[in-house]
Every structure is written in structure tokens, then in C-alpha cells.
């Protein structure tokens, strides 16, 4: 049975399109169209609870309001502080974890599994867990620090900066292992020969880390930075469960503000402007990172 090559090629590309079509359709309907619709909605004034007001096209007015909105400013600063602090800590912890689980030792599989458990736990569970640990009456933190001296127990989450710190801590606990896995992948491609050569030259453990491991890890670290930054920008679950943005507005992050505006207040236009602005920020950030990663990959291939 032979068919002409042209017919076969035609059949192949037809089959290829039927193979990707469902994936493209789902992506189009439930991801691409919604993002564009978000942008379109953000150009309107729409109040869900009051349909009689209808929807009116206002152009970029929502975005201008956003620039003048003090709550949005606060949410932007809190989000930025959260992103910077949590990503730096996660990369540092992730590096330590990666160095540990990269070593060969008995029971390494079990250690790796143990480290993955915080990553696998639902964020909502992790949030409730840390909220309980820092509970003023029943929490482990007070029990550990003050024991029997119940009068000294501290309502941790009632202090603005402490509450912010606890959210960062919960995020670092939950996601450092993910950063560690990305860094581990970078460690695995560093050749043992380099370390052996350095050892012959008399380089100690510390020198080998600073002069071989760290420079060669740069692409992996940048990639982990990219993933973690994008994810930290989207922080929502932790804030929803632990603080609802409080106390005051100490933990009011952009995503939570967007959620309140969209779904609690029903301001569909303004809420869409907030969420679309977050989308643009993430897009810009990732483009900058991808540039940096691209050039660092080039550097590596040149040497």
C-alpha cells in the first residue's frame, strides 16, 4: 500500500491540526478570550449589583483612577515588598535545600519527599496552619516562647508588620522547595570534572562553591527567580485566609484588592482594570527576565 508523498504530507498536517485543535480551543475560550474581555471590561463603568446603570464606555478613565487611588498605591507597595522579600528568601533557602538534596547519601529519596511536602500541601491548608501556629491563645509560637506564662502570650497577627512577616514566612515555607528543584536541575548539569580539577588545584569547599557552583548556577537561579516572582505577584490564598488584607491594610495585596473590587463590590470595570494592570506588570517583568536569561545562556555557550 503506497500513497503519494504529497498526499501523506497533507494527511500529516491535517492530523496535526486535529491533534492541537482541542487544546487551542480550550485555551482560546477559557484563557485568551477572558484576558481580552478583561481589557474590554476595564474600559467601562459596570456595576454588577445595579444593572439599571447599564454599562458606559469610559476609555482609560479606570486606569487614570487607578493611578490616583491610595488603596491601590498601598496594595502595590505591599505586593512589591512581598515579592522582593519572599523571592530573595526563597532563592536563598532553595539554594541550601538544593545543595543538600544534590549530595549522595542513604535515604536521599525520603529526604527529597519530606522537603516536597510543604510544596504539595494546599496553600489554603498552609495558611490555616500558620494562622493557628501564631494564634494568640492556642498557637505553638506562644507555647514555645512563653510556655506557662500565659499572660505574656502575643497576638502576633494583630501587629501590621508582624502579620506581613508571617505571610512572607508562610510563603517561604511553602515554596522554597519548588525553587530548590529548579536549582537542583542546574546543579545536576555541572560536570564533576570541574570540581575534581579544582580539588587537584587545592581549592577548598568554600572556594569551589563561590568560584564554580555559584557562577554556573546563574541560569538556573534566574529561572527560579522568574517563576517565583511571577507567582509571588499573584499571591492571594495566603492573604484571603490569614489576614483578609489586615490589620489595617498591612497585607492588602493587589490580587486581593482586585478580588474585593470585582466580587465583593461588584465594580466589574474598575476591578478588571486592576487585574489587567497586574497582568501587564507580570508580562513586563517576565520579558525583562527572559532577556536576562537569554543573554546568560548565550554567555554560557560562548565560554
Amino acid at each position: 500500500m503506497t500513497s503519494s508523498p504529497r498526499l501523506a504530507r497533507h494527511r500529516d498536517s491535517l492530523a496535526a491540526w486535529t491533534m492541537v485543535a482541542p487544546a487551542l480551543l480550550v485555551t482560546l475560550v477559557f484563557a485568551l478570550y477572558p484576558v481580552l474581555d478583561s481589557f474590554w471590561l476595564s474600559l467601562h463603568h459596570i456595576f454588577v449589583g445595579i444593572p439599571s446603570l447599564g454599562r458606559s464606555f469610559v476609555g482609560l478613565e479606570n486606569y487614570l483612577d487607578l493611578l490616583r487611588d491610595p488603596v491601590a498605591h498601598q496594595a502595590f507597595l505591599v505586593t512589591l515588598a512581598f515579592v522582593v522579600l519572599s523571592t530573595v528568601l526563597e532563592l536563598a533557602c532553595g539554594l541550601v535545600i538544593a545543595l543538600v538534596i544534590h549530595e549522595r547519601f542513604r535515604g536521599r529519596g525520603l529526604v527529597r519527599a519530606a522537603i516536597l511536602i510543604p510544596w504539595a500541601i494546599p496553600t489554603v491548608v498552609a495558611s490555616q496552619l500558620w494562622r493557628y501556629i501564631f494564634n494568640d491563645q492556642y498557637g505553638f509560637a506562644n507555647l514555645l516562647l512563653f510556655g506557662n506564662r500565659v499572660a505574656e502570650y502575643v497576638p502576633w497577627l494583630a501587629y501590621p508588620s508582624v502579620a506581613f512577616g508571617i505571610i512572607v514566612l508562610a510563603d517561604v515555607w511553602k515554596t522554597s522547595s519548588f525553587a530548590a528543584l529548579l536549582i537542583l536541575a542546574g546543579l545536576q548539569v555541572i560536570s564533576d570534572d570541574l570540581y575534581d580539577a579544582a580539588k587537584v588545584d587545592g581549592a577548598g569547599l568554600r572556594q569551589r562553591f563561590w568560584h564554580i557552583t555559584l557562577p554556573l548556577l546563574k541560569p538556573a537561579l534566574l529561572l527560579a527567580l522568574l517563576f517565583r516572582t511571577m507567582d509571588a505577584f499573584r499571591v492571594f490564598d495566603l492573604v484571603f485566609v490569614m489576614t483578609q488584607g489586615g490589620p489595617g491594610d498591612a497585607t492588602q495585596v493587589l490580587q486581593f484588592y482586585g478580588y474585593q473590587t470585582l466580587f465583593t463590590e461588584g465594580r466589574l470595570g474598575y476591578g478588571s482594570a486592576i487585574s489587567f494592570a497586574v497582568f501587564l506588570m507580570i508580562l513586563a517583568l517576565s520579558l525583562i527576565y527572559l532577556r536576562a536569561i537569554g543573554s546568560s545562556l548565550l554567555e554560557r555557550s560562548r565560554t
Binding site: R9, D12, V29, I117, I121, P122, Y132, W173, Y259, L283
Partner: protein, 271 residues
């Protein structure tokens, strides 16, 4: 410092910090109300199961578990069903605009959920998907496709092409080749993708919160986030529900650690 001592210190610290916090929930779930409320709270539980009983019968825990199983299971099946052919076509077949498709998928994986939340909610409202479990499955599938396709495509690319070429020479079309030759060989890659989708769907909170408003339809994360008692916060029942929500994940991690590690780092090595 000695290298072995340093390693031992590292192992003890990382494993300890990873596991100890959750231990406080585990201990709490086996206490009694009096032990929780004691001042100071007791360290060790007496082994009471009352919180599990009350979580199951008074706090919809049974519904939450059943809904999570249905939602996570159908998301995984549906996402794999759609991702496998797409990944195969992108890895092996000539498609015009392949780079564009990959770029779009990468872009989707960066979307903040909030940027699509309003329109997705309106879409589901229009097709009657609000407050139905299938209403969360659809966005979950869309959001897990990029990662699934990414992992599967990089896995397909690593398979030796000779077997497939032989099948093609014998007259097998692309679909037949995928189903008969590639699929059995790619089982480990499919397994990896399945685990990651499963964990995502089991843990997702935001869309479930928007779409499922009745306890009879809600999944575990929503139930646990909105856990409330009549007068006080029922921490014991919450701890029990959290242990129930986490236990399957711990089993999965213990059994599948190797696949998770390779799956999550696959993007990093090839990216």
C-alpha cells in the same frame, strides 16, 4: 567544618523545618476540645478522634473530599486527553505556526488568575456552569494544559524516533502511530504530567471559591478556607480536615517523589 557534619546539619534542618509545622496540626487533630483550650495548650494529644468525627458529620468534610476527588480526577483525565495529542503534534509533526502556539501556551501559564476571573465567571454564568463541579473543571483544564503540554512534548522529543518512523513506513497515520507506538513508551512522562495536574486541581482555591458557592459542591480548599463554627473558630475540626486534605498528597509525594522532581525540573533543563 567537616563536610559530612555540614551535610548532616543541612539534612536535619531542612527536613525538620519542612515537617515540624504541619506536626502541630497533626497533634491538634487528635486532641480534645479541653486540651486545645487549656492554658497553656497541651503538647501531646490524648488520641481522641472526636474532631475527625465532628468534621465529617457536622462540617461537610465528606462532601468536600468527594467533590475534590471528582474535580481533581476529571481535570486530570480531561487535561491529559487534550494535552497528549497536542504535545505529540508539537513535538513530532510539521505544524505551521508552531512557535506561535508554544508562545501562546507559555503566555497563558503566566496569567494571574484574577486577570481572567471576571470573564470566566460571566462565561460560566452564561452556560450554566456556576455552582457545578464541571464549572471549575473547565478553567482548571485550560490552566493546566500549558504545563502538561510542556512536560509531555519534552518527553516525546526524547523518545527515539526510529520505532515511529518504522510504523509510518508501514502505513500508520499520525493518530495510529501515537496510540500504538508512542503512548506505551511515554507512560512515565504521562504519569509525571498526571501527578502535577492532580496536585494542582486538588489544591486550587481561587476559581473554586468563585464558582462553587454551596458546601454540597465545594472542594476541600474552599471548605477549609471558609471553615467556621457557630461561636468560635473550630480549630480542632479544621486541623482534622486539613490532615484529611493533606494525607493523599503526602502518599503521592512519598510514592512519586522521583517523577515530581524530574517533571518540575524538566522545564528548567530544556527551557
Amino acid at each position: 567544618m567537616n563536610r559530612r557534619l555540614l551535610l548532616l546539619l543541612g539534612i536535619v534542618t531542612t527536613v525538620g523545618l519542612s515537617l515540624l509545622p504541619f506536626l502541630w496540626f497533626l497533634l491538634t487533630s487528635f486532641k480534645s476540645q479541653a486540651e486545645i483550650e487549656a492554658a497553656p495548650p497541651t503538647w501531646w494529644p490524648s488520641g481522641s478522634l472526636s474532631f475527625y468525627r465532628s468534621a465529617l458529620f457536622d462540617h461537610h468534610l465528606f462532601d468536600y473530599v468527594a467533590n475534590s476527588v471528582v474535580v481533581a480526577g476529571s481535570t486530570t483525565l480531561l487535561a491529559l486527553l487534550i494535552a497528549i495529542p497536542a504535545a505529540y503534534a508539537l513535538a513530532r509533526l510539521p505544524i505551521p505556526g508552531k512557535q506561535g502556539i508554544l508562545a501562546v501556551l507559555l503566555c497563558v501559564s503566566m496569567f494571574p488568575q484574577m486577570a481572567i476571573a471576571g470573564p470566566v465567571w460571566r462565561l460560566l454564568d452564561a452556560i450554566g456552569g456556576l455552582n457545578h463541579r464541571w464549572g471549575v473543571v473547565l478553567p482548571y483544564v485550560a490552566l493546566t494544559l500549558p504545563l502538561a503540554i510542556w512536560i509531555l512534548a519534552s518527553f516525546f522529543k526524547e523518545l527515539p524516533p526510529e520505532l515511529e518512523d518504522a510504523a509510518r513506513v508501514d502505513g500508520c497515520g499520525p493518530w495510529a502511530t501515537l496510540l500504538r507506538i508512542t503512548l506505551p513508551l511515554a507512560a512515565p512522562g504521562i504519569f509525571t504530567a498526571a501527578i502535577l495536574i492532580l496536585i494542582y486541581a486538588w489544591n486550587e482555591f481561587f476559581f473554586a471559591l468563585l464558582i462553587l458557592t454551596q458546601p454540597e459542591q465545594q472542594t476541600l480548599p474552599v471548605g477549609i478556607a471558609l471553615f467556621q463554627g457557630e461561636f468560635t473558630m473550630p480549630w480542632g475540626e479544621l486541623a482534622a480536615a486539613s490532615v484529611v486534605a493533606t494525607l493523599p498528597l503526602i502518599v503521592v509525594v512519598l510514592l512519586c517523589q522521583r517523577w515530581i522532581v524530574s517533571g518540575l525540573s524538566a522545564g528548567a533543563v530544556k527551557g
